[in-house]
Assembly symmetry: C2
Homo-oligomer: 229 residues x 2
DNA sequence: ACCCCTTCGTGTCCAAACAACACCAAGGCT
DNA sequence: AGCCTTGGTGTTGTTTGGACACGAAGGGGT
């Protein structure tokens, strides 16, 4: 029997919630839709899954097609499939969230995006479909992940100061942290490599630069180490 | 333009990883498939999403249709959609995981299940599709959830002893816990109501019964309380 | 009636982790 | 030279976490 075909098939899409940091403010990358439904509305970059790609590949591809942002750290968030979430038809979307170093990427609108922009994560414009809900979930997930996985570094340049990484945590968690306690705890994880360099071109004492040591991190994880801040 | 129809549509299914407890051993509810592909193989209960139901509803429905197990605590786990995970066709599945009080349910095979059975979570038979991978992820998620959300009670009768709930934690986490420390920590959360009753019909000193106080839990959460064991 | 066996229920101490807290140093700018 | 900004550093008191042992209760068996 053609069991496979007995059911009306929903369309399947992927959507990406991409976070970036800007002046210590957490922002989300959005596109302005060029087509109905919701033409002119801001929305998450995303689109239909093609036949021969994985879900994660589809997310990367759609993100790049619509915004020019490529090679991003992406992780699956959740799927949304309420009937009626898309007025056209039954559409089930698999949402991903990701983090980028904003300066490494210059988003440009393409594909069916009329424009691209960064918006404060806590104050997005009204979004198309149920994308507002997806962004809200992504923020909560990010907050939880940040404390248990070394993902905060993805928002910073490869070399960063301790003050910068503290800024990341404060921006995402939304509360100030104690400088001394934060440094002690983060350095105690042993996954930061202290560099010989310091900042350049700042109008005050230059801070030491650090780098996340992914190799060391993986080695420690293998031995049961659990990152936590 | 019929943008909606430009893409070959994958089929969308839901699958359920239902955990239950049995003699302090964590088990998973599986069905034996009656049809190709993988006829005769054990697999997760699940099936195609219908047009007018949410994903969560589809999960509950399929679970009940195939195993008779109804009204289960279910939570979305993740989606799996690699091309080739189903030999028939492109199939994307949204996986859910859930917890049941085993004594409240007497599974019976139905629909396209030839048989139903409970298997130790750490020693399942070879499973159809990528279901082994899904079970593995569900176990990891359950371990994490158990420590941060009061979900362990879902595996026990409504009234339980402290030794029983400790057994739940030991079964899921896979390691023994100290009785006095565990009790101190769990009671300190303040979400257990101590009942006037004790166990009946045991051949030794009867233990006091407790009940999870969901109302109190929600009230505390609203005030920023974070359950943790 | 007595003993036995099993499970219940309880408190202390030490170690580690955490939170609060303030001042001098460096270095560009005017 | 002095100013202004940010960098970098330790101690202390409090809280939390983990190790650890024994008498009490109560049904079963003799």
């Amino acid at each position: 029997m053609s069991f496979t075909y007995r059911h009306a098939r929903p369309a399947v899409t992927v959507d990406c919630v991409v976070f970036g940091l800007d002046d210590e403010l957490l922002k989300v990358l959005l596109i302005q839709r060029d087509r109905e439904p919701f033409a002119g509305r801001w929305a998450l970059p995303g689109g239909f899954v093609e036949a021969e790609e994985t879900l994660a590949q589809a997310a990367q591809r759609e993100l790049t097609e619509e915004t020019g942002v490529a090679k991003v750290y992406l992780e699956q968030l959740a799927s949304f499939g309420d009937p009626g979430r898309d007025p056209r038809d039954r559409v089930i979307t698999v949402a991903y969230y990701g983090l980028v170093r904003r300066l490494d990427h210059a988003p440009r609108a393409a594909s069916d995006a009329r424009a691209v922009g960064w918006f404060p994560a806590s104050r997005c414009p009204p979004l198309a479909f149920d994308h507002g809900e997806i962004v809200a979930l992504a923020r909560r997930r990010l907050q939880a992940r940040l404390r248990e996985q070394p993902v905060g570094f993805e928002l910073l340049p490869r070399k960063f100061t301790l003050s910068q990484i503290q800024g990341v945590y404060e921006a995402v968690l939304g509360r100030p942290l104690d400088k001394r306690n934060f440094r002690r705890k983060l350095l105690a994880t042993g996954v930061l490599r202290e560099l010989a360099e310091t900042q350049l071109g700042v109008a005050h004492r230059a801070a030491r630069l650090y780098q996340f040591d992914a190799r060391e991190y993986r080695a420690r994880v293998k031995q049961g180490f659990h990152f936590e801040v």
